[in-house]
């Protein structure tokens, strides 16, 4: 187990290093010279030269990368050109908002996806199976920004039940916080619920076909006990690990959801940064997202080893 952990950790480090290179190289795609952008409209040659020296833009590319990487390793993700604040501070302010949204979305996705997958597998080829599959496919095919707009139209504009946009922090007023985040969390969790439903169904179908399930039935156990205690316990092994992976995709989905519901989170920050051409913020967001995603991959892998009895000895 320890050996496996060490091995996986060793695989993650080069990936993170390569991600840092990718993020650094993104800057090279930028049209024009960053020093020109930062120098304002006057384009004073002396000022441009000074900015180039400050940002190490006058050095060769590999040196620039090493300097930038050194800063990143010390927690320096750069300085926002537009907001005039360190990028790491901005990330630390916005990330909790997105994490709250992501956690709520994940809970909603599990509450919908797993029971739907179980029902679909247990009632295979029945009306419920077709319904769950149809809803799952629809969930995968619905752009979450459109679903968000439709829910605002129905629940906020027509029924007036929930606020259409905005965000109240949990620490300020938990009721209002829930009211402002429940709809976006549902939108964000919708596609994940569909993925979880498909995985659960497939894993349950495999489990229900195993000898131990047949034995449990032969022992005269009720169908509920057979499904929930014997089949589901084993079927959940791949579902848990895949679920951990889906947490990473929530970060990407949050970009659109936060935009639709005007939630001042991580996703909205990157979109705003794109339009103000605040490239250090865009780079910082990509780097942080990739790091979280890679670490979640590692957690998913370790979780698989931990909860799978056959892998424990590995």
């Amino acid at each position: 187990m320890r050996g496996h952990f060490g091995q996986r950790l060793l695989q993650v480090l080069p990936t993170l290093l390569m991600v840092s290179l990718l993020v650094f190289l993104l800057q090279q795609l930028m049209p024009g010279d960053p020093a020109l952008v930062l120098s304002g409209e006057e384009h004073d040659p002396q000022m441009i030269a000074q900015i180039r020296a400050e940002l190490w833009l006058d050095r060769p590319l590999p040196i620039q990368y090493l300097h930038w990487l050194g800063g990143v390793l010390q927690g320096n993700l750069g300085f926002s050109w537009h907001i005039r604040q360190p990028v790491v501070d901005l990330v630390l302010t916005k990330l909790p908002v997105t994490l709250q949204l992501g956690c709520m979305a994940f809970v909603i996705a599990v509450l919908i996806g797993v029971p739907a997958g179980i029902l679909s597998a247990v009632k295979r080829n029945s009306f419920w199976d077709y319904l769950a599959n149809g809803v799952g496919l629809a969930g995968l095919s619905t752009p979450n920004f459109w679903l968000g707009i439709m829910l605002i139209l129905l629940i906020s504009v027509d029924l007036g039940w929930l606020p259409p946009s905005g965000y109240v922090p949990l620490s300020e007023d938990w009721r209002m916080s829930l009211a402002t985040t429940i709809m976006p969390a549902f939108v964000l969790g919708n596609a994940i619920a569909a993925v979880l439903m498909r995985h659960t169904r497939s894993a349950m179908l495999t489990a229900l076909d195993q000898d131990y399930v047949r034995t449990a039935r032969a022992k005269g156990l009720s169908e509920t006990v057979v499904v929930l205690r014997h089949a589901l316990r084993n079927a959940l092994v791949p579902v848990v690990t895949l679920g951990a992976l889906e947490l990473g995709t929530l970060l990407a989905g949050a970009v659109l959801t936060e935009q639709v519901f005007s939630i001042p989170g991580f996703g909205k920050m990157v979109v705003d940064a794109v339009f103000t051409r605040d490239y250090p913020v865009v780079q910082g967001v990509v780097l942080v997202t990739a790091t979280i995603y890679t670490l979640l991959n590692l957690v998913a892998d370790l979780l698989y080893v931990l909860i799978n009895p056959r892998m424990r000895g590995a």
Binding site: M18, L22, L29, M30, L137, P143, Y279, Y293
Partner: protein, 299 residues
């Protein structure tokens, strides 16, 4: 017993009726036809493709022509899907929007397959350090969620439909590389590949003539499913303002504009979104059907 008796058939059987030989493509089509959902999906995809090709003939009016006397008109016999905040016909914009979406889907997949398939074939067939390096690059790209990477690329390249297609294509390439590499490793173990090698064919020839045709089915399935994802991604980028630029119509940018008029003109949000949903769902149905039809172990 004489040799003649041994070689003679013991029981005379009637000649078996000749079974027409069927190509794998024809067999797959026969399996595909048995799936009503996939056929419906294919039908809807064909409708969208035709709408995209014949948009100028099908659209009732010019999609960018404004009319100050027809601002935010509700759906009616004259304007089937209503008009927008500039008096433009929504139906015409939805029809022309199919062009942007289909183009984005097809070109992004062509870019992704153009990069991913040769890389996967090379990694799977050459193995060794080439495989290690290419696989590490793919791991790196897969470590960044697709949409975030596409947004970053589109942001650095500048907002336009062309750049959105490039960004989506680049971010989708790693999955094609993975699929092709897996299929190549699978195909390379077959006897006919060994035989081709034993005959002295150079590696590149074996890879292109013998392995490549055998990785087409999984790549085809992946292409169909990726077109669906690319259409959503293009709509998402256009929704954020990073794709098709106004006044050119795109389903995503139409949804962006519709947000400001939800109370007064809900139809502006309903129709473009429904078009994305229908188109993506149809591609997903076709992809699922193709996967089942092309998988020899399929039902």
């Amino acid at each position: 017993m004489s040799a003649t008796a041994l070689s003679a058939p013991l029981v005379k059987t009637p000649a078996a009726p000749a079974v027409p030989s069927q190509s794998p493509a024809r067999l797959a089509w026969r399996r595909f036809r048995k799936r009503p959902a996939a056929l419906i999906g294919l039908g809807v995809v064909v409708v969208f493709v035709l709408a995209a090709i014949f948009a100028p003939e099908l659209a009732p009016s010019d999609p960018v022509k404004t009319s100050w006397t027809a601002i935010r008109k509700a759906p009616s016999a004259l304007y089937w899907m209503g008009t927008d905040e500039n008096g433009r016909d929504v139906l015409s914009r939805v029809i022309f929007g199919a062009r942007a979406s289909m183009l984005a889907g097809v070109i992004a997949v062509a870019i992704a397959a153009g990069i991913g398939v040769p890389a996967g074939l090379l990694a799977g067939f050459a193995g060794g350090w080439i495989d290690t390096v290419l696989s590490r690059i793919v791991d790196t790209m897969l470590a960044v969620p697709n949409l975030i990477l596409a947004i970053a690329l589109a942001a650095f390249l500048g907002p336009s439909l062309e750049n959105a297609m490039i960004a989506i294509g680049i971010t989708a390439a790693p999955i094609f590389m993975r699929v092709s590499r897996g299929a190549t490793l699978d195909a390379a173990t077959n006897d006919y590949v060994e035989a081709a090698r034993a005959l002295g064919n150079p590696g590149w020839r074996v890879a292109i003539r013998h392995v490549l045709p055998n990785i087409v089915p999984p790549v085809l399935v992946q292409s169909t499913l990726t077109i669906a994802q690319a259409i959503i991604a293009e709509a998402a980028l256009s929704f954020l303002g990073l794709g098709q630029q106004p006044p050119a119509p795109s389903w995503g940018s139409m949804l962006n504009a519709a947000q400001r008029f939800l109370e007064q003109a809900p139809w502006l949000a309903i129709f473009p979104g429904a078009a994305i949903f229908l188109c993506v769902m149809s591609f997903n149905l076709v992809g699922d059907g193709l996967r089942d039809a092309l998988d020899p172990r399929g039902k």
